[in-house]
Symmetry: C2
Subunit: 143 residues, 2 copies
């Protein structure tokens, strides 16, 4: 169990990024900060609903875009045809997605830094980020 973040912290985080503090933003930040896996938009909206924080779907999209631009959160794609978002302040890691039950788990550590350097050396490009996801069948789903 993780404790609910001090609302004051979220507040300061937003102020630091020169963003206005609104209930919807605090709510979105709170749910992403405590999520164990990247969340899609409808999950975030469901959380706001449950917390009785009124927020239009469009507003949530706009908030997620704004947070992404500021680097507060990071979009992740699991080949579902939609984006998920995770709090950016996590150590580099990857994800394993079960294609049967959809469960997601973190894969600790990032092994591709070396390869990034190789690419930069070989091609002259600058690599700024990467995405690495593993797909398969989790233990519970597999025989």
């Amino acid at each position: 169990m993780k404790s609910v973040s001090n609302p004051h912290d979220c507040r300061e985080e937003l102020r630091r990024l020169e963003m206005r503090v609104t209930p919807a933003r605090l709510g979105v930040l709170d749910v992403l900060e405590h999520a164990e896996v990247p969340l899609d938009v409808s999950t975030v909206i469901a959380y706001l609903d449950k917390q009785q924080i009124p927020a239009d779907e469009v507003t949530v999209f706009r908030i997620l875009n704004a947070f992404s631009k500021k680097g507060l959160i990071r979009p992740v794609q699991f080949n579902e045809g939609k984006l998920r978002y995770e709090y950016a302040d996590k150590p580099p890691h990857h994800h394993f997605i079960c294609e049967q039950c959809g469960s997601v788990s973190d894969v600790e550590g990032c092994v591709v830094g070396e390869l990034e350097k190789q690419i930069e050396k070989k091609t002259g490009a600058r690599v700024t980020r990467h995405s690495l996801e593993f797909f398969g069948i989790c233990r519970r789903c597999g025989v």
Copy 2:
């Protein structure tokens, strides 16, 4: 320069997979077999148009889905909000996508096999595939 594939080969490839041979399917297979990078649906459609192969957009979507299911091609995602497809019969590799000009290049070799084994050992899951893409600025775009 790559040579255009023998239409007879495509034909046999489809028959082998127990799929009917139609002009649209031959066209889609041909363009993907010779593409240097994964193509999105509208690019495939543009190619068919140029070749004067009549094919509805819906048909192309259906063909690509069917080919994916048979493992003939493989969907790839570059965080563009749409899928691309590449011919499956290529050695394992990854992609580098320039976020400025959109150009795509292959990154030879696959370095994550070892990590896959680790995941399987640690979690008891079965990893069937992964996706690894690098994003950044290519040499031509960067200063």
